[in-house]
């Protein structure tokens, strides 16, 4: 099918004298089973694909996209991209990438798609495991297992033809518990098979049970230990500051800081499209440039911002292979791969001990609103546990922790020795920061 569409595009491009263009194709297929009570409540499956055509028009770049996969639509796609390009004002200085001699190799763990029957069985097994952990598990508890496969292919007028397939089996469990007249929930989310159903259920159910009876801490300054999962969520919000595109638009506090100290000595941040053990890998970026591992922050020094070919041309440096598209139809931007604050030297228990008295944050919410990636400021709803005399104690909730992400990078006191990388591609260890503002009662 793809060849037929590609040829239709090539014919129309030739008719209109368009000589420099790219076809970016992406398709996804997925199926999932979800439970409620002791039964499968929902089965879903989806197949979809889209094509983005972009071409050089009078020194500008024109884009058009579609999911309608027929030849007439392909001809229209070329016409629309030309029209869009003509009204674009930004000069395009880099054109379409001709291709590189050498590309790296992905090494993602092997993906064996789950069958429809596997998915149902696994979802039910996980659900039953939740009920088996505690008799306090109640209505509303849900488990879901999903298999998903995404293919990206880039073909361009220079003869470049690259494709990459990413497959993933995922299991999610949301446990709802009731105890002492109070309801709470928590979840676990991992690659299917990495943890047993029982391990996942115990994590979700016990985390929910631990929250029962939480109190509101007094307003004040606290030493804070961010759990690794919360820290990587924070990192995901502020990662855009490391984009040269954002910096060149005057919207990043890291603009012009390459080579400068921006963080504590113990902070190392890497960006790796082929991170060991990480399933979502690629060997090329959204322009077809080879993707590779790089140090972004080393011992607290900002080594580089992340570039596509255009931002690199503006800065007078080489692209870092970080061109991205937020979906097939989006224009070329800049994004990260597996973007991780690397591990430190302390165990989690040592981090608690170093905190002495403080707060261990195991939940942050509403970051899309409560954190500003331009300024670094955040004030976010949180939940977690008090730390007393270096030990995690009773649960707390309904408080905010506030600060500035960039200040926090400088003020980090210690990091734990394990990095937790999420499917979103962000990773971090647990992290200790002293004297942060907490609003509670």
């Amino acid at each position: 099918m793809f060849d037929r569409l590609k040829n239709a595009i090539a014919r129309r491009a030739a008719e209109l004298g368009v000589t420099e263009y790219e076809i970016y194709y992406s398709s996804n297929s997925s199926s999932a089973a979800e439970t409620l009570g002791h039964e499968i409540s929902s089965l879903t499956s989806s197949t979809s694909g889209g094509i983005c055509f972009r071409c050089a028009v009078d020194g500008k770049m024109g884009y058009a996209s579609t999911q309608l996969m027929d030849e007439a639509e392909m001809a229209e796609l070329v016409d629309r991209a030309l029209e869009n390009g003509r009204y674009t004002e930004k000069e395009d200085t880099v054109g379409i990438f001709p291709g590189a001699e050498k590309y790296g190799k992905t090494n993602a763990p092997e993906y064996v798609p789950l069958t429809a029957e596997d998915i149902r069985r696994a979802a039910l097994e996980l659900q039953e495991a939740n009920y088996a952990v505690s008799d306090k598990v109640r209505e509303g508890t849900q488990s879901q297992v999903e298999t998903t496969e995404t293919v990206v292919r880039i073909v361009n007028s220079h003869g470049l033809d690259l494709s990459n397939k990413v497959g993933l089996n995922v299991a999610v469990s949301v446990a709802v518990v009731e105890d002492k007249g109070e309801s709470q929930d928590d979840y676990t989310f991992c690659e299917y098979g990495k943890k047993s159903a029982r391990e996942m259920a115990e994590e979700a159910v016990n985390s929910a049970l631990e929250k029962i009876g939480a109190t509101v801490p007094p307003t004040g300054k606290y030493n804070i230990v961010f759990d690794a999962k919360q820290m990587r969520t924070m990192l995901s919000v502020f990662a855009d500051a490391f984009s040269a595109k954002t910096a060149q638009a005057g919207m990043s506090r890291l603009a012009g800081k390459e080579g400068e100290k921006i963080a504590s000595d113990i902070i190392n941040i890497t960006d790796d499209p082929m991170r060991e053990g990480f399933s979502i890998q690629t060997y090329f970026d959204a322009e077809g440039v080879p993707a590779y591992k790089k140090d972004v922050v080393k011992n607290g020094v900002l080594m580089t911002l992340l570039h596509n070919r255009e931002t690199a041309a503006v800065a007078g440096c080489e692209t870092t292979g970080n061109a991205s598209k937020a979906g097939y139809s989006a224009p070329i931007g800049v994004s990260t791969y597996a973007f991780c604050i690397e591990a430190g030297e302390n165990t989690k228990d040592e981090l608690m001990a170093l905190a002495g008295d403080g707060i261990y944050i195991t939940e942050v919410k509403g970051l899309h609103a409560g954190a500003n990636s331009v300024t670094g400021d955040f004030s976010i709803e949180s939940a977690g546990f008090m730390i007393e005399e270096g030990k995690k104690t009773y649960p707390i909730k309904s408080f905010t922790v506030a600060g500035n992400f960039f200040d926090m990078l400088r003020d980090v006191s210690a990091l734990s020795n394990e990095v937790d990388v999420g499917f979103s591609g962000y990773g971090a260890p647990d992290l200790l920061v002293r004297d942060m503002s907490v609003a509670g009662k």
Binding site: E89, G140, N372, D377
Partner: protein
Amino acid sequence: MIEKRLLEEVLGIAVSTGADFAEVYSEQTRNGSIRHLNGKIEAIGDNMVCGVGIRAFVGTKTVYASTSDVTREGLIKCAKSVAAAVGEGFNVQSIRLTERIFPNVHPVKIVPSGADMGYKCDLLKAACSAAREYDERVVQAAGNLITVDHSILIANTEGLLTTDRHIRSRMAVQVTAADGGEMQSGVCSPGRGMGLETFELFDPKDIGITAAKQALTNLTASYCPAGKMTVAIENGFGGVIFHEACGHSLEATSVGTGTSQMCGKLGQQVASTKVTAIDDGTIPGAWGSVNIDDEGNETRRNVLIENGILKSYMVDRLGSRRMGLPMTGNSRRQDYTFEPTSRMTNTFIANGEDKNEDIIASIEYGLYAKSMGGGSVNPLTGAFNFAVSEGYIVRNGKICEAVRGASLIGTGAEILMNIDMVGQNLATGQGMCGSSSGSVPTDVGQPLIRVSEITVGGKE
């Protein structure tokens, strides 16, 4: 659009293995986007979203399959996959569809997808230029003009066959202001369920200047103090407080699965008697309005809370089966790849009887939240948060210095009871609400309200 006979065949296949109901949702959407950055039109995109979703019910169990292959073969394959997931055997049912045409209450003057591209670019440029020219400390005005032209077809085994076309337009300008090492941002992003005549209602220059003023206010603001305070929340997007603190907990998505704090509370007092809250998908041209919901039901005005008493949930077809309550025209989805569920449309707290000036004058020490960002909620516990994008300290009944970086948190049950004054300047703000059926446009709204006590998250 798909032929009626093919739809009948597809539905017949979908219920051939024991499903008691099936539905086809077909979509063709032209999304347009223009982005402005660094004083220039940076990129123009347009995307044709096209696909079909087929859903079958067996009691309260559902099977949903979607595909972007809208050929006859693609649809039959999709329907067969639904039937195979439902059960065994193959007894194709005969379905007869009767077309129904609902009234269009959202007329459009200038359809964006066909409008002159130069004109659209000029609208956005006017907004961004106004922001840049407003003050020399404005270092960036990033603008987006988003237009959506969304045509849907819904057919189901109850015989319904209907179509609708929904158009919306929105402009968002994000301004960055800098002074020395300090950098702050401001946003203004109005939209309507209308064509480009939206920008006759909202002058693009005003959009840019509003965003610029907010960024400049924050540039000179100090960090907000932390702790419990009395807070006055301004109209418009301030209504996000009801959306998060209560609205999501009234959706059948959570009520029907027993995961809402509002379960079993119909007829009970859940808010202060000052609070009347409404979800209304029928408001002509509003951002969250649609003629019909994504299951083919006419939208309507649902009084959710009246003088503090819970009157109604928002119920979709699955929720209706789970809860034994009628559907309320609230079923929505981002696109055909999502199974629809109960969602808000235009949700707001109605005008009250307090005078706005009395509300501010009543506060000895507190926060005036003039402009709000988004937020989130856990419907099970009711714990919610939302961000203040422009705030001021109130002292002795007077609005004083600006503060930044504040957020408000609490639980729905507590906050609804603490709304002790409701003003008279109802206005709405536009948002994209995310939930299990994707991101959908919703209006939030309220007049100025006073919350007697709420936790303010700040840095000082």
